[in-house]
Amino acid sequence: MFWIFKFFPDWFWWLLLIAGLSGYFLSHLIPLKTYQLPIKIAGGTMVAAVIFILGLLYANGVWQQAAQELQAKVVIAEAKSQVVNEVIKERVVTKTQVVKQRGEATVEYITREVVKHNAGCVIPPEFINAHNRAAETPP
């Protein structure tokens, strides 16, 4: 609906305002009483309507400017967010790699050293049960 007001250039509304004011004040100069009142009413109505529309256009302009400023901030924030994400992403990859390497090194150590004690150490089923119970995902 707003496009109706933007369809006309701004000067058109100022011109209408001047026309309305002129109509209102010049109506006093008209000698015929028959025309005086309708012209006065038309002029007054026109002035009121144009003031409303000018206010509308001004408010819209203010909103548009505020929206543009906010949009610019949003663009900056999105760029910042991307940078932060890249840092976090790299951190996750590096730390995961470290954990993986440490795990592999320990597994290698187990394969080399712990295996030697396999024969001398019997794992009781209760131990396995206890471990598996602890490793179970809670409901």
């Binding site: 909103w63 976090i88 992403k89 179970e136």
Partner: protein, 88 residues
């Protein structure tokens, strides 16, 4: 009456405030952080000492990998919150 009806939409147009600001939801911190934490490995019956040690190591590694993901999300939230508050 008809003129009055025509005027209503025009007057209501003054109430419309179109604020064309679009903000996309912040991206997640990578694919790795989005992967769910796996279930912990269990021991097979008759497992040897080395099997126990291997399983424990794998489970510890899974814990630390999961902790890294959680930390990433916590940091992501804190950082995004700071950025978002900067908009106001």
């Amino acid at each position: 009456m008809k003129l009055g009806l025509l005027l209503i939409p025009l007057l209501l147009a003054g109430c419309t405030t179109v604020v064309p600001v679009t903000q996309s939801w912040p991206e997640p911190p990578g694919v790795l952080a989005q992967q769910p934490c796996p279930q912990l490995e269990k021991l097979q019956p008759g497992a040897k000492l080395s099997d126990v040690a291997n399983t424990v190591v794998k489970n510890y590694s899974e814990y630390y990998t999961c902790a890294i993901k959680l930390e990433a999300w916590q940091r992501w939230y804190t950082e995004q919150q700071v950025i978002h508050k900067g908009l106001k």
